[in-house]
């Protein structure tokens, strides 16, 4: 029995502005993409800091003072969460983006990911020590 072939193909309606609310995987994807907004704004804050530094001590210390506003503290906390989310998703993807083959075997995913987490801890600790926190 021949099937009826419709002249009009079925087009699923997908919202272009809210499609990511459809399920948790999309939501996690969009959260990962949104990390760029917070990392981007934070980088602009760093750039402003370098600009103020180039203007001398008074300007730079005014910048440090401006960092102490409640808005700045709140932004730092949110940006910290998003930047950690970026690091975690980035490192977890490295075995896919950069598989390492030794002989016939591929290095297991968790070894590559673990090495990145170890490197992340070492780099973070080194920057904290270099910045004279302790």
């Amino acid at each position: 029995m021949a099937k009826q072939v419709s002249g009009k193909p079925y087009l699923r309606e997908v919202s272009t502005t809210q499609w990511y609310l459809r399920n948790e995987i999309y939501l996690r994807y969009i959260a990962r993409e949104l990390t760029c907004v917070f990392i981007g704004i934070y980088t602009v804050i760093l750039l402003v800091g370098i600009w103020r530094l180039s203007q001398g001590q008074v300007a730079y210390e005014a910048f440090l003072q401006a960092l102490r506003s409640p808005t700045s503290i709140l932004f730092h906390l949110v940006a910290l969460a998003f930047s950690v989310y970026h690091s975690v998703t980035w490192f977890n993807l490295t075995p896919k983006a950069m598989p390492i083959q030794i002989g016939e075997q591929f290095v297991p995913d968790n070894v590559i990911i673990g090495a990145h987490y170890l490197g992340w801890a070492v780099v973070s600790l080194a920057i904290i020590i270099l910045a004279g926190v302790f």
């Binding site: 502005t17 760093l46 980035w90």
Partner: protein, 113 residues
């Protein structure tokens, strides 16, 4: 063979994504500490001026800022698309221009120190 500018755009994105993954959280912790009133020695005027006076310090600051700006710009471009803004060529031009302008400004500020 078709010409593509994808490697030029994607290379710094990958580098920037890696740099921000390694250093941005700890940098935020340091400036958060300053925001809470405990300025680490390295973030005082003397500390930052010493760092930015050395060529290696300038290079490190320049690399972190330019690569972070570029990877954020590249991801922002696809994020705009995901939120339904489909004028990709215009958005790409704007975000990449802003990243390059920020990088050049950073270079000028560093050379003034």
């Amino acid at each position: 063979m078709a010409k593509s500018n994808k490697p030029i755009v994607w290379g710094p994105f990958a580098a920037g994504g890696t740099v921000t993954a390694f250093v941005t959280p700890v940098l935020i912790l340091l400036t958060l500490s300053a925001a809470l009133g405990h300025v680490p020695d390295g973030l005082t005027y003397e500390g930052m001026h010493t760092l930015a006076s050395h060529w290696f310090g300038k290079l490190a600051i320049f690399a972190v800022i330019t690569l972070s700006l570029w990877s954020s710009a590249h991801r922002l471009r696809s994020t705009f698309f995901d939120f339904g803004l489909r004028r990709d060529n215009l958005i790409a031009a704007v975000v990449y221009f802003m990243a390059i302008a920020g990088g050049l400004a950073c270079l000028v500020f560093l050379l003034c120190i």
